[in-house]
């Protein structure tokens, strides 16, 4: 018996559209903030992982490509990859890179650096992306953030895609920085609750 699909089972469409829009106009990258803010708000306000469990469009996309379309080998991932050291280490690395990106955005805002119309893949490879930039009515910094943020989103999609092929479809979930962070928030919230009661 297959469970009836709910509205949120189709959120993979959002994730796919987001990836495509980044090729059309880079300013759409700002929409990706939803994927950062919503899981945080849910975990902080309600103390659960409903975002991962139900709404995450990227997870659904990987599950579909790896499961339905059979693009995954469906093998177990190596032990080190699911260890706390790796998960927390990747979280720290990811957010360090995120804050460096914010700093670069600030420099463009402050007029100390020109707008770089490039996407940086895997934190290393610079790819020309000027064709998705059609100017902005705001500061150049707004566009710089879009380039930087889309770089992060595309990079993590690529990583997730590679581990989807190599291991289980949703391998990304194991080391997803947002997932690790929301789980930590949930754990901390639960601990507070227990100590409050005693």
């Amino acid at each position: 018996m297959k469970a009836k699909k709910k509205w949120y089972d189709h959120l993979w469409i959002f994730s796919l559209t987001y990836l495509i829009l980044g090729f059309v106009n880079i300013l759409f990258a700002w929409l990706g903030m939803i994927c950062f803010i919503v899981p945080l708000v849910i975990s902080i306000c309600w103390g659960n992982k409903a975002y991962c469990n139900k709404f995450c469009g990227r997870g659904q996309l990987f599950s579909m490509l790896g499961g339905h379309f059979g693009l995954s080998r469906k093998k177990d991932m190596p032990k080190w990859m699911k260890s706390k050291y790796f998960r927390y280490g990747f979280l720290i690395f990811f957010f360090t890179m995120f804050f460096i990106m914010l700093w670069n955005t600030y420099l463009v805002f402050a007029g100390q650096r020109p707008l770089g119309q490039k996407i940086k893949l895997l934190w290393t490879f610079k790819v020309p992306w000027h064709w998705a930039y059609h100017g902005t009515v705001f500061s150049d910094g707004v566009a710089q953030f879009a380039f930087g943020f889309y770089s992060i989103m595309l990079t993590s999609t690529i990583l997730g895609y590679v581990t989807m092929i190599l291991f289980k479809p949703r391998s990304w979930c194991v080391y997803c920085p947002m997932g690790t962070m929301t789980q930590l928030i949930c754990k901390a919230k639960k601990r507070d609750e227990v100590t409050d009661r005693s």
Partner: protein, 66 residues
């Protein structure tokens, strides 16, 4: 002897992939910490174990149950 799914809680990432595939709605992720299996509902089909991206669910003999 019946086989039931069992989660290694220390390694569970609480992603909820197992919840989605369970045909008996026997799995939940209370408080977003780790997956919990309701042994009364679990039929030991192993779908969750197969789906788990971290491969931390296994089927184990639950011999103390009737």
């Amino acid at each position: 002897m019946k086989r039931k799914a069992s989660v290694d809680k220390s390694l569970c990432v609480a992603c909820g992939c197992c919840v989605k595939v369970c045909p008996r709605a026997a799995i939940s992720v209370p408080n977003g910490i780790n997956a919990v299996i309701d042994e009364a509902l679990c039929v030991g089909c192993g779908k969750c174990a197969k789906e788990c991206p971290a491969s931390v669910i296994s089927l184990e003999e639950a011999d103390n149950e009737s």
